[in-house]
Symmetry: C2
Subunit: 499 residues, 2 copies
């Protein structure tokens, strides 16, 4: 039973969810026999999306109109006053597979494909998405299931093809604040002649993803065509994966994982590999920080994750090297998009104040990638990477990449700052990465690019009472106050001094 209405854009940002607003007293509602929370199939000019129904008074949306939330509006490329067809969405068959998973059944390739295809088509509500994400964490995915999910994520999105040969890539499993090696690795690798079409994600539960950080330096929402032109001309790029429609299911699931703070091994592997496979990668270096407050907390966990990841990658013909790195401390000084970008620029420009640890780690990863890709002999990768960085060739390449992506910018500065000082003297013994991240998030990161915090001390430093430990950066006094209250409350856990 189809109903024809006119599109209307009330301009409501429903936190990323697709909502259709209908006049509860309209003939359309009566004809369809609608009552919230029905789900409706909304079709406009060949594009369709499933949206959740919200009933509103006729004063908000006219009886012959269908109002769409911003997410729904953009998904079907709606036009004000344009024609739209609405009908009740039928039962989502693939939800029976989600229920089967909840109750312990394994998901084969076909059910996984059905689920992810419905997810990409926008048919799952937030409640249903959350059930799928939770089920995959509570009933951990086996290797076959992870491979099935990876394949389904690749198949339900766009796929890049490149000339035959090595396509390099790198990835960090995250959880380590400030660990922003990607732009440096890409610049070094591309400067050495590797083809490295890097797509990055935005933050899931952290104060900054590489895409968030990179966005303070250059546009990252590139189309697939634009991304291809950048890579063809410069050998590398650093763009947001979500904008080029590679593994779009992953981006939808990430929004839910972020709201839940749940990020399971299986989905993590499928997320990483699907993006890389869709981007056409053949050789991939993975940075796996391990530490008591990193995402991966123990060597055992790292080993399990690494083994499964290599197993799944092999099935897709991707060569992977996993580097387990020190995840006990933050890397660099800044935490938050713009503050991390400043660290990256200091390294690339070979500035004296550049953070040593960030520089050393980027050189190690770039070296491993150069070796894996056959650009350097075993043991010779780091030296080549170091020379490429020190000579300024990496910096030149980075500027060229930024220019090709749409023009380079300087990262923004925050309006409000507050420095926190040591209350006692002692040696810096430990950082709690999670609490540091939380403080940066309370300060406004990653939504506010300039927000976050700057560390003034490193592990092992001697600190005198009253010496600055960290500075909070915020765009609003409310957020600054919240972050400060949090830091003051958790003072000793965030940066532990030992006398």
């Amino acid at each position: 039973m189809d109903v024809e209405l006119r599109l209307r854009r009330p301009g409501i940002d429903a936190a990323g969810e697709a909502i259709v607003y209908l006049d509860r007293a309209s003939p359309a509602c009566r004809t369809l026999g609608l009552a919230a929370p029905d789900r409706l199939l909304v079709t406009h000019g060949g594009k369709a999306i499933t949206a959740r129904l919200n009933l509103v008074p006729g004063t908000l949306i006219g009886p012959d109109e269908a109002g769409l939330s911003e997410a729904a509006w953009n998904a079907i490329m709606a036009t004000e006053g344009g024609p739209v067809t609405i009908r009740k969405d039928e039962t989502i068959d693939s939800m029976s597979h989600v229920r089967a998973k909840v109750f312990g059944h394994r998901l084969d390739a076909a059910p996984m494909e059905a689920i992810l295809s419905d997810i990409v088509d926008g048919r799952y509500s937030d409640i249903q998405l959350a059930a799928f994400v939770t089920a995959c964490a509570a009933r951990p995915l086996g290797t076959d299931e992870i491979a099935a999910m990876t394949g389904a994520m690749v198949d339900t999105g766009a796929r890049m093809t490149w000339p035959p040969g090595v396509i390099a890539d790198k990835h960090c499993v995250g959880g380590l604040p400030g660990n922003r090696t990607t732009p440096i690795v890409v610049a070094i690798a591309a400067a050495c002649g590797l083809m490295i079409p890097k797509t990055s994600s935005r933050a899931i539960t952290s104060p900054a993803g590489t895409a968030d950080m990179m966005e303070t330096l250059a546009p990252v929402n590139l189309t697939l065509d634009h991304m291809r032109r950048v890579v063809e001309s410069e050998g590398g790029c650093i763009v947001w994966g979500g904008a080029v429609d590679l593994s779009p299911a992953d981006d939808i699931l990430i929004r839910i994982e972020r709201a839940l703070g749940v990020d399971s091994h299986g989905q993590l592997i499928a997320s990483v590999l699907s993006k890389k496979i869709a981007a056409g990668a053949t050789h991939l270096v993975i940075d796996l920080p391990v530490g008591p407050s990193a995402k991966i907390r123990s060597a055992g966990d790292a080993e399990t994750l690494s083994r499964t990841l290599l197993d799944v990658a092999r099935r897709f013909g991707v060569h992977v090297r996993v580097l387990k790195t020190n995840g006990a401390h933050p890397v660099g000084r800044g935490i938050g998009p713009a503050l991390e970008a400043r660290d990256v620029l200091q390294v690339l420009r070979n500035e004296a104040e550049a953070p040593d640890d960030l520089r050393a780690k980027a050189v190690t990863l770039a070296g491993a990638l150069l070796e894996l890709a056959g650009m350097a002999a075993e043991g010779g990768g780091e030296g080549l990477a170091e020379r490429t960085l020190a000579s300024g060739r990496a910096w030149k390449k980075f500027q060229a990449i930024c220019a090709a992506q749409g023009g380079m910018a300087e990262p923004p500065s925050a309006r409000h700052r507050q420095t926190v000082h040591a209350q006692t003297s002692g040696r810096v013994n430990a950082f709690d990465n999670r609490l540091l991240s939380r403080a940066a998030i309370l300060a406004g990161a990653p939504e506010e690019k300039a927000a976050g915090l700057d560390l003034h001390v490193r592990a092992g430093d001697m600190v005198e009472e009253g010496q600055p430990l960290l500075t909070l950066h915020s765009q609003s006094v409310g957020e600054l106050a919240q972050a400060l209250a949090f830091v003051q409350k958790n003072h000793e856990a965030i940066i532990t001094l030992r006398s």
Copy 2:
């Protein structure tokens, strides 16, 4: 950082979710540094709720206004133009317990209490609620956890107290269309002098709950005070459990379970027992229909559920008798609130056309309850129940209860009907309860009280080609068409004839 605004009611029914609408360009948003999907604590006159933020243009909601969805509006008893205080909600600490459950940890009483308390306070988003429901199904709750959940559900709601002595109750685990014995059992029990303050739920995934059905005969949204007066004067009542605030957490979770079609043993037991314990029940009969297409499909499942349920009930000092009943066929003729109410009235009025199976089952359950409660000797309950029904005393009691609840009404009739006829001849061999329920839901039940279907044949009946099998009832032609298409497509599975 608090912001003071004025309340505004745009009248949006956001499918049961609490939403706050703020002007995205307003000083309030800038001060708080807000961006969707932040969660806000909304306080008005001593009542508070956590609501999800939707950003809207200033044309919808003024810069000094906070618009609330209907669910949020009702939760804080808002008044148009009234003062409201808004601030960012802090991290929900209890979500760490939900994550622990997702990853396999058991939930003790304290974490369970923390989770359910936050849920009742409206602090969980739909995404977070779905994660909790899914985790409790995917990591099945142990007996201790079910007891903890039951206790927490009781503690986070209102609790009824009665004079010392027997407080009787009955419950059906559901999954069997048309199985509407409750009003009959309550009428018989109350007529025999038992005190039976019955609260019922609305449909979770079925075309009608007892509360939905009862609402076609009398008001069921009673306050706790009103319910008490009904029970004190008539000995029994049949009201919606959600309206009297007994185990309010359960009602919140049921909305999510319904959207997911997930209903796990643990939550089922906690749901049933928390409502009964909060209502003050001491003696409880449970109807557990078992059949290939009922909610409980096998004798083994029924046994597990029954054992756990008795174990948990014992911890709370509640005497329970579980009756495993035949769940292979629907009970009565009607499926849907009003059609089931008609069946109930026929039985209570001792009408000739009253469905025998509904009458017999109600008498069995009432008999078991009379025995459990000590009103009849073992083996003498059914006889007492039968006499009470046949004499008209149960009917008189039912009318008195309806009058006390606010006045008795006749159930409504649907605007549109369509009869489906047998395409071949044969004997009625089997019904598929799930497909029958689905057809009734497609026809509009339970949102439309008059919608559903009427069965014209029973198991074992000989049917001639062209003879009526069932009649669909709908309030809209769209729903009637959808239900008809579904029945025609699944004709042979819904009612299987054997030649």
